[in-house]
């Protein structure tokens, strides 16, 4: 009947009875410990928790009731029987009062004794399961209590503002972020706060309260709390239902969206710059095509061809622009899949020079290379390094003078590879240097007129170099020439 062997203690000074009951219980499958006197009984019974203890009432050293008392003091769940030949109504009551479960009168038959023990085991199981239940309940309560305080602590400390109003507009809950965002100095639970909230929120809250039909829908409004876009909040107002489904109130969360708004402005500025840069070549091409197709405008054959050629050039620049934009957007999203490998920069330099050969020859530019012996390989994506070198070199050619020169230097320090490209070009004025790497910045003067470019080349170079934690520097003398120096880490880590 017992799952685990129940452990029974017998405290009995009479040897025959002690051994007899022990054998009897062991035959029934119980684990039995025995004590031959009261003090040993106390020692055993208090140092171990027995399921059952059968204690003789009369022992020479210590009284059975005393043993019972001591055991119960330590292990109140041990089911104790008092066994005695001097059964009396009074001792029975006394024993029960101290905590005995039962009273076994001597002499007893084995059946009677086992029956009593079985009853005791049942009692023990009842006590233990009640104990278990109680413990579980206590644990749950504790968890609940700590869960509540944890939630409270979380809501109090989050960056979002939280306000809960009942359906009269009385404050039921708030956190400090809400007060900070709304610049409310003092607020009390139970206080009607409708007047303290921004008009836009009040409007939404009133809409929620006036809805006949309860809609579990979140209404959001954006509020400029401080002027000049210094603090913009997004308030999300959500109705809170009672368990019966009727409206209990509204929970308002306040998020700071100032930074998002700033990014939105930057984004729209960028989009307008892009739009301008794209419309300009389109306008030129459209202008030429309109003339060519218009019968009322007389265009000589040679001129016509010239216009078409120029249209192709403009469309090519538009394609370059689109490609540059795609590169930038990939870099911004960091989706650009980098294939990091060991790169021999010298080889990439030679490849780029080959692709630019035609332009170099056209302007009759002298190229001088100075590459350090045993230049270390660097860890990078080949496309990135190609892009850096080709953007810098094509600028050095484009903005160079006829019969000019370009010096290319590749060297290294312990941790960095250094690429230096100098030209004998038009140079950059000191005041223009800071804007040089910004998107769409192109120096406009008589010397740059007619040189096509997207205005993104250097911006892309800078982004790539910085994505490798490298650095780019420019040194220039107006009308003499420009030097770009790039330091790239040899090892990515």
């Amino acid at each position: 009947m017992q799952n685990l062997k129940s452990h029974i203690l017998i405290v009995e000074d009479e040897k025959g009875l002690r051994l007899g009951t022990q054998r009897l219980l062991e035959e029934e499958g119980y684990a039995v410990s025995v004590a031959e006197n009261g003090s040993e009984g106390i020692k055993l019974g208090t140092s171990n928790e027995f399921d059952i203890a059968v204690i003789d009432l009369r022992m020479p050293d210590i009284d059975g009731l005393e043993v019972l008392k001591e055991i119960k003091k330590v292990h109140s769940n041990t089911v104790c029987f008092i066994a005695t030949a001097f059964a009396s109504y009074e001792t029975a009551i006394q024993a029960t009062r101290i905590g005995a479960y039962g009273y076994i009168p001597k002499p007893f038959t084995p059946e009677e004794f086992i029956y009593q023990i079985e009853q005791g085991i049942k009692q023990r199981e009842l006590i233990l399961s009640a104990e278990r239940l109680k413990k579980e309940r206590e644990e749950n309560l504790f968890e609940l209590a700590s869960e509540k305080s944890r939630l409270n602590a979380i809501i109090k400390s989050i960056n979002e503002g939280v306000l809960v109003l009942n359906k009269n507009g009385d404050l039921a809950y708030y956190n400090y972020a809400a007060l900070k965002y709304l610049n409310i100095q003092e607020i009390n639970i139970g206080e009607n706060v409708i007047d303290k909230l921004p008009a836009k929120i009040v409007e939404v809250v009133k809409t929620i309260f006036s809805n006949d039909i309860f809609l579990l829908k979140t209404y959001t409004v954006q509020i400029e709390v401080k002027p000049n876009n210094e603090l913009i909040l997004e308030a999300a107002c959500t109705p809170v239902p009672h368990p019966d489904g009727s409206l209990a109130g509204v929970v308002i969360t306040l998020g700071n969206i100032t930074e998002f708004k700033k990014i939105e402005v930057i984004k729209s500025q960028f989009v307008s710059m892009v739009a301008h840069e794209m419309k300009t070549p389109l306008a030129a091409v459209q202008g030429f095509l309109n003339i060519i197709i218009d019968d009322t405008i007389n265009v000589e054959k040679e001129k016509r061809k010239d216009y078409l050629k120029r249209s192709i050039v403009r469309l090519k620049s538009l394609t370059d622009l689109v490609n540059d934009l795609l590169d930038i957007s990939r870099m911004e999203l960091k989706t650009k899949h980098r294939e990091i490998e060991n790169i021999k920069v010298k080889e990439i330099l030679n490849n780029v020079l080959q692709t630019l050969e035609l332009e170099i020859k056209k302007k009759n530019i002298a190229i001088q290379k100075n590459v350090e012996e045993k230049l270390p390989v660097i860890q990078a994506d080949q496309n990135d390094i190609t892009r850096i070198i080709s953007n810098l070199l094509s600028n050095a050619i484009k903005y160079n003078k006829e019969n000019g020169s370009i010096w290319i230097e590749l060297s290294s320090t312990q941790n960095y590879l250094i690429l230096r490209i100098s030209d004998t070009g038009i140079g950059i004025k000191p005041e223009e240097r800071s804007k040089l790497f910004s998107e769409f910045y192109r120096i406009k003067n008589d010397r740059t007129r007619g040189i096509s470019g997207t205005g993104l080349g250097l911006s892309i170079v800078k982004r790539i170099v910085e994505s490798y934690h490298g650095k780019i520097e420019v040194d220039s003398q107006f009308e003499v020439g420009t030097t770009f120096t790039i330091n790239l880490p040899i090892n990515l880590n």
Binding site: S272, T280, A284, R310
Partner: protein
């Protein structure tokens, strides 16, 4: 027929616009920057100025238009640019910039001719 000054740093657009207006019998003078633009207007006193917005900073088309007006040059100005109205360049002509009309590039030959003739006619009525 009229003398028209076109000031634009985009040579392609300058050439195309010139040709359209020449085909209508107008005489065209051009400049590719604001300095030259101011000079040819001062010297030749055209009947109309067509002015691009985005040129060398800070001497852009707005600046040049203001300079003309400040210096008492009342020649009608047609300002044109590829800066889109949709991105906040929605100014109401003379309120911000002292120009007589404003068009967005690209512009069709018909539209250009129409705008130009409107402005020239306006001046004659005056």
């Amino acid at each position: 027929m009229a003398l028209i000054a076109i000031i634009d740093d985009d040579i392609d657009i300058l050439d195309a616009s010139s040709l359209v207006l020449k085909s209508k019998g107008h005489d065209i003078i051009t400049a590719t920057n604001t300095t030259d633009g101011y000079k040819i207007v001062k010297e030749r006193k055209p009947n109309l100025i067509i002015l691009d917005v985005m040129m060398e900073e800070p001497d852009d088309g707005f600046y040049l238009a203001q300079k003309f007006r400040r210096d008492g040059i009342k020649i009608p100005i047609l300002m044109y640019t590829s800066v889109s109205k949709a991105i906040g360049m929605d100014f109401d002509k003379s309120e911000i910039v002292p120009v007589d009309d404003f068009v967005e590039k690209p512009i069709s030959p018909e539209e250009l001719v129409e705008k130009v003739e409107n402005l020239l006619h306006l001046k004659e009525v005056k």
